[in-house]
């Protein structure tokens, strides 16, 4: 990477906007005004929470999706479909189960009409490079996850792309395997053995981004946009335990917890979204929420914990702990600031309560801070038969968010409401209902 003096621009992303059109009301915006440039010789990471639109952006760059607005240029030409010179590695590997390792690897060459002998030669080259020698005739289902992703890598490298796109390539693998693959890939890159000019990878793992990338673009959610751009100054190979490395990881943690989702503005004075009961919720298991609160309440944290070490101690990834922490903040059982989580009075009350009292505490929090739950209960109270179809709530939610999010939100409200015994839900009838009094 010393010959980067003539930095050539490969990809230019200009004012990308991606929205799903809803006929009833405003569009659901996934990406808003995203700009980025990618040059020769760098590994760039798109870091963000799930649902921040980073995978969507990757697919737009790959030419798999056409953005609603803005444009992507590849070597100066507008991207209209999958361009030659860009190859992709998938989170789920996306290997064809009926093709052997070799046939999978040759797929991209075959699409270009490369002759058989040449195909064989180049496939073998890629297979050997990525450490798959000897597995040529195996079918994907005979391989372990790590080996499968190696096939995915070889399949992308064999076409000698200028740009390699990787969509959370290691997140489906176990910790050890993922680490081996990361270091193997970085070693090959540092030694200049990869037939690539640049790599763009999507990840939600902060350490992975700091370990592999030269530049990290941190995404914020709702709508997805690039919040911060960071340069990673360390040379390869990097040491995860080095103080500088740790500091950078901590900084990014703080960065990512700093702003709660704009759907819930911190200051009461700001304009609130059209209807408070239509904010996006994610279903979180009560056990996890309670467990997190108990952990934070207990020593050594005693009510206040720094998130990165807490996540480490609990063996949770950032993508797992942040939504939990945010759900607690939303219910006002905890506060989030600068990468710290602090229990509130309500949070402490919950932790100290017994099984039945906890339900009461939770019910109060739910009715006060989750307008949708309060609304469902109110509607049920007003109905003579204490029954209400979930469809009307779902429809209303879908006016403000994508159907997937609406589903998530409804699930969250169902699960929490059941725990708090605020109302019941009948899946067959898709109805909320109240149990008759006196039972």
């Amino acid at each position: 990477m010393d010959a980067v003096s003539t930095a050539e621009t490969l990809i230019e992303v200009k004012a990308i906007r991606q929205a799903y059109h809803k006929d009833s009301s405003a569009d659901v915006v996934v990406l808003e005004d995203v700009n980025l440039t990618l040059s020769n010789g760098e590994i760039v990471g798109l870091l963000g929470r799930s649902g921040s639109g980073k995978s969507t952006l990757l697919r737009i760059i790959a030419g798999l999706l056409t953005p609603t607005g803005g444009e992507v240029t590849w070597r100066g030409k507008k991207v209209l479909g999958p361009p030659e010179g860009i190859a992709m590695v998938f989170q789920s590997f996306a290997l064809f189960p009926w093709l052997t390792v070799q046939e999978n690897v040759e797929l991209g060459l075959e699409a270009r009409g490369v002759a058989r002998a040449e195909r064989d030669r180049r496939a073998e080259e890629a297979i050997d490079l990525i450490g798959l020698g000897g597995y040529e005739h195996a079918y994907p289902k005979e391989l372990s996850g790590g080996m499968r992703q190696r096939v995915g890598l070889a399949r992308a490298l064999v076409v000698h792309p200028d740009l390699l796109l990787m969509d959370e390539p290691f997140s489906a693998l176990d910790v050890l395997t993922a680490e081996t693959l990361r270091t193997d890939l970085i070693d090959l890159w540092a030694e200049g053995k990869l037939p690539l000019k640049s790599v763009l990878m999507v990840t939600h793992n902060i350490e992975e981004a700091v370990l592999m990338c030269d530049r990290v673009l941190v995404f914020s959610s709702n709508p997805g946009r690039i919040a911060t751009e960071l340069k990673v100054p360390f040379p390869h190979p990097r040491n995860r335990l080095a103080p500088d490395f740790r500091q950078m990881v901590d900084d990014i943690y703080a960065l990512m917890t700093r702003r709660p989702t704009p759907a819930r503005p911190p200051a009461p004075g700001t304009v609130v979204a059209p209807a408070a009961h239509t904010m996006v919720l994610h279903p979180m298991s009560i056990n996890l929420l309670a467990g997190l609160m108990e952990t934070v309440a207990a020593p050594p944290y005693d009510g206040r914990a720094d998130l990165p070490p807490l996540a480490g101690a609990l063996q949770l990834e950032i993508d797992e702990i942040l939504p939990l922490a945010e759900a607690l903040a939303m219910l006002q059982f905890a506060e989030l600031e600068e990468g710290d989580i602090k229990l509130t009075e309500a949070g402490r009350a919950f932790v100290n309560a017994g099984t039945d009292e906890r339900k009461l505490v939770f019910a109060v929090a739910l009715r006060t801070h989750v307008p949708l739950a309060a609304m469902i209960r109110q509607v049920l109270d007003e109905r003579w038969n204490h029954r209400a179809s979930a469809v009307r709530f779902r429809d209303e939610l879908e006016d403000h968010m994508s159907p997937d999010y609406a589903d998530d939100t409804l699930h969250a409200v169902i699960g929490w409401g059941r725990y708090a015994e605020l109302y019941h839900y009948d899946e067959d009838a898709d109805q909320f209902f109240l149990e008759e009094e006196g039972t």
Partner: protein
């Protein structure tokens, strides 16, 4: 069981919509048109009378061969249909709007009732030649397989995994390459399974369609079906048993030589990446894989196929998918208008034809008779359920037994039940039993095995930990049936019952009437109505009967089976 079946019929939409109605009308109109054209040319057919069917057993292998060839021809036609119709429906949104409801209705139409027309229609195409009757028989078999296969293909094409699709597109595979490298392989297991399952219907139809009589004319194509028909006329029960034997051998060969290897081979196209239990290779596939000559030969064939699949043909250049698909409104409007014209023409044709010969009373009669048949189907399904579910559970929970019994059941399901009719009829005639009651079991004679087959599969797939939990809590007796095993096998039972009930409706046309020499037996029902109308050459009533029956079948499916299937899928799976 690794081979959980997915009935194409059940996994589709539930509620009928406007397009269903339109499709129904178009099909009915088309049938009337066909019938109208056929009626005019009913007379000059007497070609096949010259070739009599011999009852000596030595003729049977030859007849069996002819029957088998018809099956192959129909299979080829069904595949051709599947690869054109289903692909077009899956690839074009507008075509889909019409083609899928049409397919949906078609698979509920008892085409057996239309045998007479199709025979005449094809005879017309090849006047004075056996070819016409042959094609008609092949067409009958085709109708018993094609819809099911096409549905399976369509559903596979619609559910290609998103990541594989993205991989194919991002590696710039052309449309043609994508079809052969991704879509066809993905559809293969479902297609093979559905083809195998439709074979039994095929055998049933080939037997029924080789010997046909419309009005005063009758044909007998050389084949096992005609052999049985001739045996019935000659009151020769030994010959019937010879035919059953020959059929058994043919089906056994078909299964061993064609479908065992095909199913094993298609297993490699399953998408789950987990290396689950794999059935042992059937002997033929083993022989093919190990014999070097055969391996080279099959290798050469697959090379050619691969070459062809690798052609870089493409209809459209690579384009990215847009999140908001904006189809042209104008083309849509033209398309809908054309459809409206077709529906209007169909309605006009129906009214024209019906007002000429039929009145409301005929419709009432047909509906009432249909109700009788409905009662028969329901009673028989209930009986078959009461008998086979306990037996199936018992067998399924004992792996040794289920392994022994399952191939036999599969064989019974494939066996054309109409070959077994004569012995039953003989008994009914001999003891002078009431046909209205005793002809009824013939309807489920062939189809009951689907229930048994699926219940065995369900019981053997019942999770071991749930069984242990039930034992641990000492759940026994009625409670065990109600809370443990019946819900456990329910989805499998529904799958089997859907197939069985569909087959029973179709069988009604041949099961509600029977003959032994000059003795004619007939029960009151829509099947007998259609059969008698066919005998009398009364086209209007045939069409009426078939349409009424289709309506019954469609309502039965939509109102009973699909909701049950959806319920079973939702309630009996965790996650």
């Amino acid at each position: 069981m690794a081979t959980t079946s997915f009935p194409a019929l059940a996994t589709h939409r539930r509620l009928p919509n406007l397009f269903d109605l339109a499709a129904m009308l178009v099909i009915a109109g088309g049938l009337f048109a066909l019938a109208h054209g056929a009626k005019a040319t009913l007379a000059p057919l007497s070609v096949l009378d010259a070739t009599p069917i011999h009852l000596e057993p030595s003729y049977l292998p030859g007849y069996a061969l002819r029957t088998t060839l018809r099956m192959f021809a129909a299979l080829a036609a069904s595949l051709l249909f599947t690869f054109t119709y289903a692909v077009a429906a899956a690839k074009s949104r507008r075509a889909e709007l019409v083609m899928i409801p049409v397919l949906d209705i078609l698979q509920s139409v008892p085409i057996l009732g239309f045998l007479s027309f199709t025979v005449v229609f094809f005879m017309n195409l090849f006047p004075g030649q056996v070819m016409g009757a042959e094609l008609a028989a092949v067409f009958a078999i085709f109708t018993s397989q094609a819809w099911n296969m096409a549905f399976s293909m369509y559903q596979s094409l619609k559910t290609v995994p998103g990541d594989l699709h993205e991989a194919a597109v991002s590696f710039r595979l052309s449309g043609w390459q994508k079809f052969w490298r991704l879509e066809v392989p993905f559809a293969m297991p479902g297609l093979v399974w559905n083809t195998m399952m439709s074979m039994s219907g095929g055998w049933f139809f080939v037997v029924a369609s080789e010997a046909v009589s419309v009005g005063d004319t009758s044909w007998k194509l050389p084949g096992i079906g005609s052999y049985v028909a001739a045996a019935l006329e000659a009151r020769d029960i030994t010959a019937v048993f010879y035919a059953i034997l020959a059929m058994a051998v043919v089906i056994l060969l078909y299964d061993q030589v064609l479908f065992r290897p095909l199913t094993a081979w298609s297993a490699k196209f399953r998408v789950e990446l987990t290396p689950g239990e794999e059935a042992e290779d059937p002997w033929l596939l083993r022989v093919m894989r190990r014999t070097s000559f055969l391996r080279i030969a099959t290798g050469a064939v697959s090379d050619v196929v691969e070459q062809i699949g690798g052609w870089r043909l493409s209809l459209r250049p690579h384009r990215a998918a847009t999140a908001e698909h904006k189809p042209s409104r104008v083309v849509d409007a033209i398309f809908i208008a054309l459809m409206a014209v077709a529906v209007a023409a169909a309605v006009w044709k129906i009214v024209d034809f019906v007002s000429e010969t039929l009145n409301w009373g005929d419709l009432g009669t047909a509906a009432l008779l249909g109700f009788y048949t409905l009662i028969r189907v329901v009673v028989m399904m209930a009986l078959a359920t009461a008998i086979w579910v306990p037996i199936g559970v018992w067998l399924g929970l004992r792996p040794v037994w289920s392994r022994r019994v399952q191939p036999l059941v599969q064989f019974m399901a494939a066996f054309p039940a109409n070959l077994f009719f004569p012995p039953f009829v003989l008994v009914i005639v001999y003891f002078n039993l009431v046909p209205d009651i005793w002809l009824t079991p013939l309807m489920v004679l062939g189809t009951q095995w689907y229930i048994l087959f699926n219940v065995i599969a369900g019981a053997s797939a019942f999770p071991g930990d749930l069984q242990e939990a039930a034992k641990n809590f000492r759940i026994g007796g009625f409670l065990w049936w109600r809370r443990v095993i019946l819900p456990g096998v329910f989805p499998y039972y529904i799958t089997g019952a859907i197939t069985a009930s569909g087959g029973s409706w179709n069988a009604a046309i041949v099961a509600e009437v029977a003959s032994w020499g000059n003795t004619k037996l007939s029960a009151h029902g829509l099947g007998a109505y259609i059969a008698q109308a066919t005998d009398a050459g009364d086209t209007a009533r045939i069409v009426l009967g078939v349409v009424v029956m289709s309506v019954y079948v469609i309502c039965f499916n939509r109102l009973l089976w699909r909701p049950l299937y959806a319920y079973a899928m939702r309630r009996t799976t965790i996650s």
